[in-house]
Symmetry: C2
């Protein structure tokens, strides 16, 4: 994991740019994409070149740096420009709250100072890099908090990709696996391929392979079977937004996996940094769910695999009610059982960055 | 449905051949494939050009006609040749019992007579056509038995393809929908795309579209979400083999759908002709499950979507325990509740072919 290529980084100083792995090209090719304009960052988020809630947050923060650096004028003019850039980036994808959280931090960064010009640009860049740096530390802390849950000699099933490719560090759900492996635990990983965009087959397998972990890819419909065969002792997934009561939005298919885990008496854990919690929402019903293009389903593999004109239902996320979640692994420790009181208490504890 | 192209047919007389829709080309193209040799039938079954338990049975029976027609000699020599052809066809796919059932009928056809030469060839052809004709009538009867279960104004979810393309008639699970539609019931159909080979997206949508039914395709991981949204009032699937106690092998993913249906209090029905029951097996644990090539998962439709060398688990079927099955719709009526006594009683009742 240590030598893992960086999912997203800022190259250079104040006049630099965003460099990110184009994840739509994986696992066939490891291509980087450089974004010099905020529009390129927006496009990269929208088309899932960069994806994963924490990574989206970092990309958005860096997008703000790009979007406002040519703006001149007084504080009022800068304020308007900042608002325009933030509103624009907020339209890229609706579900992952880390995006809005990161944009909020950039807004606060402006509010806190009276800066203009290059000092303000430096302030923005500093904040974006801080978000990335903190995410990296949170990933490590999530991994350490969750590693004791990994069953030595057992099997862990994951859905989608909540790994290094989804964050500024070693991942959320996959961080737990990386740290457990570092600690000498041995286990098998089952990766749902995760239709329609196959983040499990393309990304999770790729990064686990790079890290030398033992991973087997499954069609999503096979998850129930491996559970029935007794080969899964833990389910571990990431999150795109978590409501105050613990209801969790994550990649479509997660809710079904949670129901299956419950039916097979398998613990189901969510791993996410505190930036993924949205305490303004009392339940998951209030989380906006992105609907994506039908072609992701009908033209998934390059060739058309459903008849012309067929109706498609393609929500990008679903919401797993909190009562299906055994615990939520955060950088501040594990929330268990999952309820609003436990979440608020846990998030209020200090996070001492290493 | 009436004008539906025939999934499989025998063209000509004793010297004729098998013509089948090459289902690997759907929905992009409606191509027919003619098989003049038994090896071509074996290949068509193995590669899923023809698939679906009842259709596999018909194909195998017709394959026997092709395989033995050039054989000469006395009854002992014919017996050896027949055994060779049957053993060969039996290796094409292991799970659908209809294959072995149809081969058994061809064997019985031989045993019952003392024929050789052209009269024996005619006898074989007659038996193969009878299997097809009976299947067509069974499909219709299954549809009529099941149609009253379809919730008027509701939603029905199906997995894989148990339709006209899987049988010699109008299907098993989909026959129920076709007859319900004929009777004026209105309902929405949700078709799981059914990875890895997308029989739901490619075949079920295609034939329901042809029949004018309202169908929406979903990624397999989305089934739980549409259930949670209250849009599914019935789950209806086919079967590849049903043990004496009602445990049912069907396309991988079916078991998970059954667990999800139970968790959402949605009735889960299997539709299958009596040829799909294997009363020699007391439970589903004894059903052999075909493991298929990893490339079906990693190279779905032209392009490689998982890293080189990744481990893959790709069983073609899973087994749904009988206690998850609300009822089994057969041509002799509905088995409900599902247990060995009810199955044996139902299968012993007369089937009066129309």
């Amino acid at each position: 994991v240590k030598d893992f290529p960086r999912t997203i980084e800022w190259v250079g100083g104040r006049d630099g740019f965003v460099r990110l792995i184009d994840q739509t090209q994986l696992p066939g090719a490891l291509h980087y994409r450089d974004c010099h304009e905020v529009e390129e960052v927006w496009e990269a988020i929208r088309t899932l070149r960069v994806r994963g809630a924490p990574a989206i947050g970092i990309a958005a923060a860096m997008g703000v740096v790009l979007g406002v650096r040519t703006a001149g004028g007084d504080r009022a003019a800068l304020d308007r420009k900042l608002e325009e850039v933030i509103s624009y980036l907020a339209t890229s994808r609706p579900t992952a709250v880390n995006l809005f959280w990161a944009l909020g931090r950039m807004r606060n960064c402006f509010e806190r100072s009276a800066l203009v010009g290059e000092p303000l640009q430096d302030c923005f860049l500093h904040e974006a890099l801080a978000i990335q740096e903190e995410d990296q530390q949170m990933c490590r802390a999530i991994g350490e908090a969750g590693a004791p849950l990994i069953p030595d000699g057992g099997g862990v099933l994951t859905h989608c990709n909540a790994g290094a490719l989804a964050t500024g560090g070693i991942g959320t759900a996959l961080a737990v696996l990386y740290v457990a492996a570092e600690q000498g635990r041995r286990f098998l990983v089952f990766a749902d391929e995760t239709r329609p965009l196959l983040q499990g087959a393309r990304l999770t397998t790729w990064e686990l392979q790079q890290a030398g972990l033992d991973v087997t890819v499954l069609c999503d419909g096979t998850a129930a079977q491996v559970m029935k065969e007794g080969r899964v002792q833990l389910v571990l997934v990431g999150a795109d937004r978590i409501a105050a009561n613990g209801d969790t939005a994550n990649k479509i298919g997660t809710y079904g996996v949670a129901v299956l885990a419950r039916a097979h008496d398998i613990p189901f854990y969510v791993a996410a940094p505190s930036s993924t919690f949205d305490l303004r929402l009392s339940t998951g019903d209030q989380i906006p769910i992105e609907q994506r293009d039908a072609r992701e389903v009908t033209h998934g593999f390059g060739r058309q695999t459903a008849p012309v004109g067929v109706a498609v239902y393609n929500p990008a996320f679903d919401v797993t009610p909190h009562h299906f979640i055994t615990g939520i692994i955060t950088e501040r420790g594990v929330v268990r059982p999952v309820n609003e009181g436990a979440i608020r208490t846990r998030l209020a504890t200090a996070f001492s960055q290493s």
